[in-house]
Amino acid sequence: MKLIWKYAGPYRWFILAVMLVKLTGTMTELMVPYVLEHLLDDVVPASGDAWPVVLWGGVMLFLTFATRFLNMTANRMSVRVARNSTYALRRDLFHTALNLSGRQIDRVGLPSLISRMTSDTYNVQSFVRMIQTMGIRAPIMLLGGIVITLTMDTGLAVILCVTAPIMIALITFISWKGIPLYDKVQQRMDSLVRIMRENITGIRVVKALSKEPYEEKRYGAANAAMARQEVRASVIMSLPGPVVTLFLNLGLILIVVIGARQVDAGVTAPGVILAFLTYFNMILMGVMGLNRIFMMMSKANASAIRIAEIVEMPEDLTPVPEAAAEKPPDDGALIFDRVSFNYDADEGAGLHGQFLGEQRLKSLKDISFSVRRGGSLGIIGATGSGKTSIVNLLMRFYDPQEGRVFVDGKDVRAYDRDSLHRKFGVVFQNDVIFADTIRENVTFGREVTEPMLRQAAKDAMALSFIEGYEDAFDHGADIHGANFSGGQKQRLLIARALAANPEILILDDASSALDYRTDADLRRAIRERHGEATTVVIAQRISSVLALDEILVLHEGEMIGRGTHAELMRTCPEYQDIDIYRTQMSEEVT
């Protein structure tokens, strides 16, 4: 709620105006039946001619149109407020989300981050829109209805005052019971969708093993469970309608009975009973409105809390002052100085469950290396040995727990983030192609000239297939580059990394989908045309790192070998082990 107020706050005078207009509108709305009652009870019987009747009819007409005008204006004004505040909220939220550190994103999780950006902001938006008008209307209907009836006839009004709270309590109780049931329905739905998704993505396996009947049974069980749960929730939630109507009608009966008694005693006029029935309806609507407001409020509040968690996240990994930065031990372009690192240091494995934590705990242990300017480093090791973590630390997506990382003679923590990143051209493992033209995907907002673009594509072995499209570099990519093959995607990503002639080039498993021929051509092009860049290559194949100045061999986060290919062949048994296969074969070729 605090968050909502923070974003709606700047419009407080405007909101106040909305509320005043709505208040007036609600007042005039409430006066219509009052005037009708007056017309029928006092004016009609009393007056001999038609003029007063026409006059009061005119008043009613005036009120009718005034009501419409005022309510409409208030509604439209509230739309403005909702639009502007949600726009600002979404802008800030996106800004924060985009700039979160790796650790912060790990903690929230990507799907959750996305739903906070979208459905949660929609919830808040419709709440901001509705609360300004309904927040006035419902209480006024309820209170106003009660007050007017009190002034009209205290005795009859008591009936209202008794039934209204009972109705509120009933509705609240039923909703309170029913809403958790819908959560359960949602969970069942989720597992149903999950089974479907599994079957769609794994259709080849399912069919290959002829598991269709089994899957139908599995899905059938989940489907039945879902239907049962849904009925259970619906039974509870179909109660409020009939129950509330019943209570309303019981109130009506009481009013008629007691009203008759009072008419008999000469305390009440018959027209009052009629007006009462109308106001009773109004009060009922007030009750229903309040109920809706509470439901909306709890929903919006949950969303607001989820959004606030993100927006209020402190900026992580801010640059440290020069004075606090450490000095590099030598003059290498990339230096790791006794670095130890794991992903879940601060919150243990808590948020992601044991499994992920267990897997991630072994990230990096006491790693040191130095790459000279223009030099090259290969990193090789088994799946999960910590190769990618080195990139994450070099580009400061995370800070290590121990040790220091230096880029270009400066502590990475002392850099402004963007100026650090501008030194790099990088292809991540599972990197992304965005839904945009090839040109935009490669130039990526940097000042890359047309010749540079073509050259980068050529070096990345991508030019031939790009020019195969009629619109060449203006050819559009689908989301996640779905219209390209794995090999084409990797070549585009490499072109992106090369395009701005970076000081430092990082290729993390960037050519795994390329066949050997293309991979070899690519390596040659990089060697020849980007020799001055400091290069880090992470790979599974020895052939990708073989010719580099130095190679690190990682095993479960530890460096078990470091040196040139020839040195490692002498000193590192694990490296030799990876290599045996290759040498056996190369003998045949030579």
């Binding site: 029928l40 990507l110 009506l252 008999d264 965005f434």
Partner: protein
């Protein structure tokens, strides 16, 4: 029957969709008839209420000291009965319709899933998972919500409108005529507003869709964006998308929020007119106050459904178009059924032969031109070639995921098109590049191909696939639950799991499509030792980028642009110094 199906396939065939929807309701037709009957009674009771109240007030209006309490009491108790009855009936109605609609939804969901199981693999290559799923999660939900409320609502609206009108006319014809004047105004207004708001609301949904897509895309590429200091540009683009979404919301709501107040105004207008005319009639002694009271109550009841009618029809139409989407899925062409005389492949030796096979996924785009292949039982056939040469297509044809455009494929001399599909697929164990695990324990994932597998067998397979030590390090070992996209284990480990699955499945033939592409070289070599055991006596088809994997093959098929460029053993191909030699030499440059 066949003719009707053709009609249904036409898009925007609302009537067809309605008819098929009604067929789903068939099993509950008596329940629905009962519900409609009950709703008639319940609504009549509801209508009777105000008339009783009017009578009671009339009795009371006699003035001080002259009120007939016996009559008032009688009317009041009748009202009580009437309202109690209608509340009970209302509850019963909404309950039974809920149950019916959920059952219908359940049946539809089941039909959709069964259909999916019968669709050819190609369907899933052409359609996005999200789109298929939204038919089950969203469309069917829309239909079920509509069924549970709208049928009864339409019915009761109809009764209420007709009933109120009759009561109103019976009270006062002139006043009724006056009320009827407001009806065309209200209806005309809703139709008019629907025309204005409908495109605006759909623009709003569209712009939300764009926003969702953009956010998802950008946040999943967040690291890349930061790495290239691209965030300013992304924020600029988001700003324009955000502005669009905000504007679309404001624009739609700007018109949307006028509907409520205007409807109220139309009702109040009617009320004012009734007051005026009622007053006049009262003067002339045509009507008494009690009757005016009941008339006002009835006119309110009358106005309710008229105001809601646009909304109901909106829902009904959106349900019908949802139903259309579901039915269009149900009408997709299925995998051709096995011929009645299809033979069951049993005791397979493993001689596979392809003769003059050509194939394309799209008409006129041929992927394979004239493929000839002979794989004698127990031999290892390797398929190599650059990306996009058609390697995976061959696997698709062998497994009968697709049937060739021309030419035949035989297993042990039997053309596979005339064999039972199940038995063709059962002949192969398969490990694919895109590994697939489902949410379930590791044990279940490995044992997937073989029901009743024992723990010992699963462990043996896991050991052979070199994944056993990893599994033992997990907190729950083989009972550890892994998730749908395998997010909590690495790609390499997933691949090992699927290898273990294939090892356990133990079919007479084996297909490995880039089965070890995400595994490091050392592990790969380990697995190959185990594989060799598995591959003994079996016909194997192996696709790999790493040529080292396949040099021991009995025959290597070198594909290039959908044609077999070379064919022979490793040694023969190396001696030929052709395309294969080039590919092979490239890995040592």
């Amino acid at each position: 029957m066949a003719k009707r199906d053709i009609v249904m396939k036409k898009p925007k065939d609302t009537r067809g969709a309605l008819r098929r929807l009604l067929r789903y309701l068939g099993p509950w037709k008596y329940v629905i008839a009962g519900v409609l009957g009950l709703s008639l009674i319940s609504n009549l009771l509801n209508l009777w209420g105000p008339s009783l109240a009017g009578s009671a007030i009339r009795e009371a209006a006699a003035g001080p000291g002259r009120v007939n309490f016996e009559a008032v009491g009688r009317y009041a108790s009748l009202m009580l009965l009437c309202y109690l009855g209608s509340a009970l009936l209302g509850f019963a109605i909404s309950l039974s319709m809920t149950v019916v609609s959920r059952r219908v939804a359940r049946n539809m969901r089941q039909d959709v899933f069964s259909k999916l199981m019968r669709l050819p693999v190609g369907y899933f290559d052409r359609h996005q998972a999200g789109d298929i799923i939204s038919r089950v999660s969203y469309d069917i939900d829309v239909i079920s919500t509509c069924l549970s409320t709208d049928i009864v609502q339409i019915m009761s609206s109809l009764i209420t409108v007709v009933g109120s009108l009759i009561m109103m006319i019976s009270i006062s014809l002139p006043l009724s005529a006056l009320t009827l004047v407001t009806v065309p105004v209200a209806v005309g207004y809703t139709v008019h507003m629907r025309k204005i708001t409908q495109p605006r609301y759909s623009r709003r949904s569209k712009s939300y869709g764009v926003l969702n897509g953009f956010v998802e895309e950008m946040l999943s590429g967040q690291k890349t964006i930061l790495a290239y200091a691209y965030e300013k540009r992304v924020e600029e683009r988001f700003d324009s998308i955000n502005t669009d979404a905000a504007d679309a919301f404001a624009d739609a709501e700007h018109y949307g929020v006028t509907i409520g107040p205007t409807m109220t105004a139309i009702n109040n207008l009617g009320l004012s007119l009734i007051g005026l005319l009622g007053g006049v009639l009262y003067f002339q002694g045509h009507i008494d106050l009690g009757r005016i009271s009941s008339f006002v109550l009835y006119s309110r009841k009358f106005a309710g459904p008229i105001n809601a009618i646009a909304e109901i029809f909106n829902e009904l139409f959106s349900a019908l178009s949802a139903a259309e989407r579901v039915f269009s899925l149900l009408d997709e062409e299925e995998e051709t059924a096995d011929a009645p005389d299809a033979r069951l492949l049993t005791r397979i030796r493993g001689d596979v032969k392809a003769e003059h096979v050509s194939f394309g996924y799209l008409p006129r785009v041929t992927v394979l031109h004239d493929l000839n292949l002979e794989a004698p039982a127990g031999k290892l056939i390797a398929i190599v070639g650059p990306t996009g040469a058609g390697k995976t297509t061959i696997i698709n044809l062998l497994m009968r995921f697709y049937d060739p455009g021309s030419g035949v494929i035989r297993i042990d001399g039997q053309e596979i098109r005339t064999a039972v599909r199940r038995s063709v697929r059962g002949a192969y164990a398969m490990v694919l590049q895109d590994t697939w695990v489902f949410r379930g324990t590791i044990f279940e994932n490995i044992a997937y191909g073989r029901e009743n597998a024992t723990m010992e067998e699963v462990v043996a397979a896991a050991k052979a696939a070199r994944i056993h030590p990893f599994i033992m390090r997990l907190p729950q070992g083989y009972d550890t639950v892994i998730t749908e996209d395998g997010g909590n284990i690495s790609k390499g480990q997933k691949q090992l799991l699927t290898i273990a699955r294939a090892m356990l499945y133990d079919a007479p033939m084996l297909i490995l499509d880039e089965a070890t592409s995400n595994v490091d070289t050392a592990t790969e070599r380990e697995i190959q030792k185990a594989m060799r055991e598995l591959m003994k006596q079996k016909t194997c088809f192996v696709i790999a980028h790493r040529l080292s994997t396949i040099e021991s093959a009995d025959q290597i098929l070198v594909l290039r642009d959908g044609d077999v460029a070379e064919q022979g053993t490793h040694r023969e191909l190396m001696d030929r110094k052709g395309f294969y030699y080039q590919l092979y030499a490239a890995q040592f440059e």
